[in-house]
């Protein structure tokens, strides 16, 4: 209510010409009462939870304790809030807190997964030759001081290169079809691309196994794995590229047409260069997804313990496949190696991810790109005047 009166007061003094009076009212979402209510409710819930778990009810278990604490916390918070605010405000506040915890939980989960793998992987990775050695001289009982992921790194890089080389041109061309040609015929294509982004990864492997390996006669190899990865990456690249192409301003296209450009020249010289950084982001994100796929590779790459540089001949291991194999061994040293492989995999993905963020500045085609272009244009203008 106080906010309402403030708002009506502000314009009354505004026309007098005093700029200070015209300052917009700052509504503070965080207040002392709010924080104290949350803190009090949290403490009360903790105490009540402890009494319930340790004294009253026969409950046990750490996770159960915290789940109960959270439910009690929400109830306490609603109760304490009801002393101060009306029903609608209470509901609003409880929902706000519940949604904020969900965001916090997601953050904690991602940090936990990445952190846990990296920390446990550190035991193996501490020895830098882990990244260059292969498993060819490492027996099932060898200590952690032997063996490494070198051969798996080679396999991953070769396979993802093959998959990218195949899926990116096709994916971007398909995205151009959806964004530039369009029409009613494009609608089923878009629907199917959306549907195929959630294609079960094992199906891609099974398909290449049935088609390429058993029908065409291609041997199980890194190339077959690259083909399977290309099948899983194609819809992802198409989908992401289409989103980027759609935000290329229509005025640019119209300007190109007005200058007499044909459609293909417009696309090649205006649309694609404009969307370049966003497309790069789409490609890199697709690669990040492809690098981590296990199931397609599992079925068609075979498995090798040593280096195999030739993707067209002989079995090849990739990082996820290496982890999958090591983790199924009962030996602790193998588990440590699996986490070492996880370390390498997460490092690769984080590098790709950072590149994608740098290139596209967030979700493909958000404001930053235009801002960057604007800055470049200003710099160019400045350079010209200086000369």
């Amino acid at each position: 209510m106080a906010a309402g009166t403030d708002i009506t007061r502000a314009p009354a003094t505004g026309p007098a010409g005093d700029p200070a009076a015209d300052r917009p009212l700052r509504i503070r979402p965080v207040t002392a009462e709010g924080l104290l209510t949350i803190g009090g409710a949290a403490a009360a819930a903790l105490a009540l939870d402890w009494v319930l778990f340790e004294r009253v009810l026969p409950f046990t278990g750490v996770l159960g304790f915290w789940v109960c604490w959270y439910v009690l916390f929400l109830l306490c918070y609603a109760g304490v809030a009801a002393f101060q605010w009306n029903g609608r405000a209470v509901r609003d506040k409880v929902v706000t807190v519940a949604l904020a915890t969900s965001g916090l939980l997601a953050t904690a989960l991602v940090i936990d997964q990445v952190g846990y793998t990296v920390v446990r992987g550190f035991t193996a990775v501490r020895r830098l030759s882990f990244f260059t050695q292969s498993m060819s001289d490492t027996g099932p009982l060898s200590p952690l001081t032997s063996g490494g992921v070198g051969h798996a790194l080679v396999g991953t890089l070769e396979q993802i290169t093959i998959a990218t080389a195949l899926s990116v041109p096709l994916g971007i061309a398909a995205a151009l079809y959806l964004a530039e040609v369009g029409g009613p015929a494009a609608r089923p294509v878009r629907t199917l691309v959306d549907a195929m982004t959630a294609l079960p990864d094992v199906i891609a492997g099974l398909f290449i196994l049935a088609f390429m390996v058993y029908t065409v006669g291609l041997p199980k190899s890194g190339f077959a794995a690259g083909l399977a990865l290309a099948v899983t990456m194609l819809p992802i690249v198409t989908r992401a590229s289409e989103t980027v192409l759609r935000i290329v301003p229509g005025t640019l296209r119209e300007a190109a047409y007005a200058l007499g450009g044909s459609q293909w020249r417009t696309v090649l010289m205006v649309v694609l260069p404009t969307a370049r950084s966003g497309l790069a982001t789409a490609v890199v994100l697709g690669m990040a997804r492809g690098i981590g796929e296990t199931a397609p590779v599992l079925l068609v790459a075979g498995f090798a313990r040593g280096y195999n540089w030739n993707p067209f001949n002989g079995w090849q291991t990739s990082l996820p496949l290496y982890i999958y194999n090591e983790v199924q061994s009962p030996e602790l040293a193998d588990h440590a190696r699996a986490f070492g492989g996880g370390f390498a995999l997460i490092a690769l993905i984080l590098v790709l991810f950072t590149i994608a963020r740098r290139l596209g500045g967030g979700v493909p085609g958000e404001l930053t790109r235009r801002q960057r272009r604007q800055i470049a244009r200003q710099a160019a203008a400045r350079g010209r005047t200086a000369r």
Partner: protein
């Protein structure tokens, strides 16, 4: 809405007199070739889907011929001699994992999406979106490692808590000895929890996109009528985003049904259907394929054909679910930004 429907009516009589000339665009040869190439690339997605179907059907024919309708009703999965196999156990067990995943992931995903698009401070919004993108890019093998080594030892206590105090719910009934901790391990429930974490980013990112497109005018209208933020979300954002959220959930379900490696690492495969989700053992079509594929180097073998048949069922099921989801999303999207 009503305004825009009425506005053209008074203006139409004068407009009728100068109907614009219809423009017939005649694309040049270069353009025609260009468009044909693009069209071919676009339709290649159909070609690939078709090829997948054709080859799975070709390769699975032998198994279907051998088992007939029994393929759908047999629970055992013996693909060595004497062969007797069917998907009556592994299909529903896999669906159970997906359902548990959806029960957790849908509320969580929508909550995170609402938090990011409606509640989070502006400075946090981009990092959170990046975080969800990163969560989507974390490979399933890492989820599997995390689930096996980090989550499983910690969730066993919660499992037994559920089993002892919520055991009156049939799904949570626990018939094995509760004092043996490993009776809770490798269960459908744990696999479902891990898969749910892989579905959350899909539900979140698609829902968030729809939520953020809710029209600003209607939001402000709700606030002007005195709604709290939650009141505005309930009255404007959620109804607006309903279609998108349903589609997002269906795509998430498709992902959950097909998840392979994380499930394979966590469950201990069983071949009889058991809906008591806390008890040890579970299965899914995808993980059966991943576990058994290596036993059949021979292209014509019955075992391989059985795997292809199971794969065909999985592919058909996820394709239907995903396509429905994509149609729902497409519909909610076409009403919004682009024509």
């Amino acid at each position: 809405m009503a305004m825009s429907a009425h506005r053209p009516a008074p203006a139409s009589p004068p407009v009728d007199e100068d109907t614009p000339r219809t423009i017939v665009a005649r694309p040049s040869t270069g353009d025609r070739i260009f468009r044909a190439v693009l069209r071919g690339s676009g339709w290649s997605v159909f070609v690939i889907t078709g090829l997948i179907l054709v080859f799975l059907i070709l390769r699975s024919a032998k198994a279907f011929k051998f088992m007939g309708l029994g393929f759908l009703t047999t629970q055992t999965w013996v693909i060595y001699n004497p062969q007797h196999f069917g998907i009556a156990a592994i299909l529903p067990l896999g669906i159970l994992i997906a359902l548990i995943a959806m029960i957790i992931a849908v509320p969580a995903g929508i909550a995170i999406a609402l938090y990011i698009s409606e509640y989070s401070p502006l400075a946090l919004r981009r990092p959170l979106v990046a975080l969800i993108d990163l969560m989507a890019a974390i490979p399933s093998i890492i989820f599997g490692l995390w689930g096996l080594f980090f989550l499983e030892p910690r969730i066993l206590g919660f499992d037994s808590w559920l089993g002892r105090h919520l055991g009156f719910i049939p799904f949570f009934r626990f018939r094995l000895s509760t004092s043996v901790e490993s009776n809770y391990a490798t269960s459908t429930f744990i696999a479902g929890v891990v898969v749910s974490l892989m579905v959350i980013p899909i539900v979140t990112s698609l829902s968030r996109q729809v939520f953020s497109q809710a029209p600003a005018g209607e939001r402000e209208g709700a606030y002007a009528l005195g709604a709290t933020r939650w009141g505005m979300v309930r009255a404007v954002v959620l109804p607006f985003g309903r279609g998108g959220v349903i589609g997002a959930c269906m795509l998430g379900l498709g992902r959950a049904l097909g998840e392979t490696i994380a499930v394979t690492l966590i469950i201990a495969p069983v071949f009889h259907f058991n809906f008591h989700v806390l008890e040890t053992g579970g299965n899914s079509i995808a993980s059966s394929i991943a576990l058994d594929y290596s036993s059949f180097p021979d292209a014509g073998s019955m075992g391989l054909s059985a795997l292809m048949a199971a794969g065909l069922v999985l592919f058909g099921m996820t394709l239907i679910v995903n396509t429905l989801g994509a149609i729902v999303i497409g519909r909610s999207r076409s009403g919004l930004a682009t024509g």
